[in-house]
Amino acid sequence: MTAGDPKVTLDLAQSHGLTAEEYDRIIRRLGREPTFTELGLFSALWSEHCAYKHSRVFLRSLPTRAAHVLQGPGENAGIVDLGGDLALTFKIESHNHPSFIEPFQGAATGVGGILRDIFTMGARPIAVLDSLRFGDPADPRTRRLIEGVVSGIGWYGNCFGVPNLGGEVGFAPEYAGNPLVNAMAVGLVSKRGIFRARADGVGNPVFYVGAKTGRDGIHGATMASATFDETAEERRPTVQVGDPFTEKLLLEACLEAMATGAIVGIQDMGAAGLACACSEMPARSGMGMEIEVSRVPQRETGMTPYEIMLSESQERMLLVAARGREEDVRRTFAKWELDAVEIGTVTDDGLLRVRFHGAVVAEVPVKALADEAPVYEKPTARPGWQDALGAFDPLALPAPPDSCDAAAEALLTLLASPGIASKEWVFRQYDQQVGINSLVLPGSDAGVLRIKGTRTGVAVTTDCNARFVYLDPRAGAAMAVAEAARNLSVSGARPLGLTDCLNFGSPERPEILWQFKEAVAGISEACRVLEIPVVGGNVSFYNETLGQAILPTPVIGMAGILDDAEARCTQWLAEEGDRIALLGPDTVSLGGSEWLWVQHRRVAGRLAPLDLAVERALQEACRAAIGAQLLGSAHDCAEGGLAVALAEACASGPRRWGADVDLGPVGGRADLTLFGEGPSRVVVSVKADRARHFEQLMSEFRVPWRWIGRVGGDRLRIRAGEATLVDLDLDRIAGAWRGGFERYVS
């Protein structure tokens, strides 16, 4: 015990976020009361953020295996085989709570953290994406959050030097006090150059490398494991502060040191800093670790071992080197002007022994910290409100006037709604091309990169329609998986793997845990039918303020492969005379639709059903058509339904093309036809001279589809037999779409 440490009591443990039972469990495991430093270690490692106490029991059902998975969940990031010598690593993570407290640094350090998770595997980061959710952009407080978050992400990613290839920004009142910032990173690694976060080899030196340690971010993990109340502002010191320049140096130094062969294992220091790295690394290899924390490079004076172990100062890694190779490590990090200090050794006693000027201040079995946090199976209960939501029938609302003008106005209003409108204001603040691998920049259904020296391409996306998940967590989450895979498929890529960021309210509320359980089940089912393994992910609970939870938001990050990067596809109509086809079933619903929200400010109704077998066939058909170079464009029908998808295909790209579309005599309401949403629907344009070929190809897939029109002119005309539903010139469409979001933030 260090002089000045407070006495460890149950009260102190509880103020650290531990329950009375957890504290009891710790005492029984240690055979004594923990020291203050040990209490700190447990409070961080056993926090929800680090230990997944409430979620683990459900996550076990996710399918994680496939022949091409080189690394599944359990390491810092998952890895899939790209063929040849190359592999792709990727992961998504949340930084929600810090981004509410301090938007710029919260979002920036979210990017920093996920980048480290990628290069700790031995990979060079090749892309980042960000999935964001905010409240109403008309609210100045939300505007401040948006501006802070976007500039933070841009500052970190741009300075570090990684291109932003996509993402999404969504809005709902439920996010006002709990914005979501989910950052995804993708890296390229040689199969022979994969590194893991293990502490192997008794006597091997343990090195601390990177930035110095300060008092920032202490208890960041605990902060992320609790809901916000009125005191949220006071949590400011718990937000970490980033330095992307140092991270860039760290990247280069790590990759160079890895190439020397001197490194045995390496882990980045993220949530719970040294505490986490020093327990997880030896736990994975069945070893122990002894460290002397006074050797840790510090940028503040008088830091206690508790503070040093729990600090979440950024841009630091812990690595185990091979005995005798220490000089390689020191020399490499010295070249890049970073600290590389030997702070300890790998042992074989299974303990984490922390010394401070020689005195032992903590001595805990590593597995107790890393593996033995309680696993809770707390009660779940379908919410009372769920049935009422589903019982609502959007078609019972008074039908809008049956005029062409009304439908056109509704379309323009939808295009101008912040959820759908152009997000160029966001991604033009991000570098999109560093590395000169970017083939399809943000703005289409998925970002696409080339891999130099090969014909291979990689496509990436993030997706989640949280309204759908709210209305039906199981189906909605399955639809998020389907949508991500569809976005990759319409770009010409075959999905390889998925990383999920599961953002929910408090798991201590049975309704929220029910949402979580159902969502995970939906993801599992979709992954199984579509044959997409989950290779890693993140859970963010406690996204609620004063009892108001966010919409359940399981963000799906997905990466896919294009065997030939040249055979890629974007969402924009390409050539006059191309024929337009609608692929997929005609079952759509206004339930949970963007139309229902924009027109009536409601989230209610039933979703159109998802048939995963049809979805799978549809995606295979799209990839086949793209591979055979039959298509000019392919676009997923998502928020806003068919009319919005057509408008985007016409007017949201670098070149604009009009379209003349006839859906045939359609019974029922025009707004359902135009704006109804449903899965497994894609709008394609087919090269005029490949139309026959396309028909033949489609006959091989059990996917309903039909021709609906032709590309040409400078207007979007949508007819239903005799009736003209929409007749708009492209300037009006583009104008509404361009300004819809930007008007709030300019």
Binding site: S151, G154, W155, N158, C159, F160, G161, D243, P244, F245, T246, K248, L249, W336, E337, F427, R428, Q429, Y430, D431, Q432, Q433, V434, G435, I436, N437, S438, L439, R450, K452, A565, E566
Partner: protein, 237 residues
């Protein structure tokens, strides 16, 4: 022709230039560490884009005082050429090798987008493969690209034809709307008095292959290599 690509801590377009010069142009190229001062082997040095030293103090301020940059005047006196792109341009201005300064974008935001550049001077070693009045398409990606110089300096630049590229529309009109960062006189790139050092904010290495966004960047390299296409195919643009 021997190319050298300089790396400062924080530089990130070094790999991109190296790739283009080696794999697209098939020219010998090596990396040059910021502490190297032995530049005898090189004919042309590239100062690439990035955030050298994290843009601490001012973009390019620290790198502008590094050993390799201090060795540049002697290098150019011997006939060496220096091309600075983006952060490289900022470094050259900070080092006094080019006049003026790059300040924060007028819109106060980072901007990554495509731009059109009007070729004002096609006589330089970096532009002789171009036509005067030719319009090039090249991307920018920066937060501090607003070129500024005092009135006297600007007058000198104009008189001595040192303004090489200006932001313009697709059709070559130099107007405010085509200026992405508020640069004085839409200036996107300038050359030094001796014609040996060119600085430009856009990224030519990002416009060197059709697949990734166009090939207008190769015109700069071809100029440096002294490749004037005799059949005039470039001049048809």
């Amino acid at each position: 022709m021997n190319f050298g690509v300089v790396i400062f801590p924080g530089t990130w377009s070094d790999c991109d230039f190296h790739y283009v010069i080696s794999e697209v142009l098939h020219q010998p190229v090596r990396y040059v560490w910021h502490r190297d001062t032995n530049l005898a082997d090189f004919d042309c040095l590239i100062l690439p884009g990035g955030f050298s030293y994290g843009d601490y103090l001012r973009a390019g301020a620290v790198a502008g005082r590094s050993p390799v940059v201090e060795a540049l005047p002697e290098f150019t006196a011997r006939g060496g050429l220096v091309l600075g792109s983006c952060n490289g341009f900022q470094i050259l201005c900070e080092a006094g090798l080019l006049p003026g300064a790059l300040m924060r974008n007028e819109c106060l935001q980072y901007r990554c987008q495509s731009t059109y550049l009007l070729v004002e001077n096609a006589e330089t070693a970096f532009t002789r493969a171009m036509r005067p009045g030719q319009v090039l398409k090249m991307p920018i990606s920066h937060g501090e690209g607003k070129y500024h110089a005092d009135a006297e300096t600007l007058r000198g630049l104009r008189e001595k034809n040192q303004i090489v590229f200006r932001y313009c529309t697709e059709h070559g009109r130099v107007v405010k709307e085509a200026n992405p960062n508020g640069s004085l006189d839409n200036i996107a790139g300038i050359i030094n008095d001796e014609g040996t050092v060119l600085g430009l904010m856009p990224h030519p290495e990002r416009a060197a292959e059709a697949a990734v966004g166009g090939t207008d960047g190769t015109l700069i390299f071809n100029s440096i290599l002294g490749t004037l296409v005799e059949d005039g195919s470039f001049l048809k643009r």
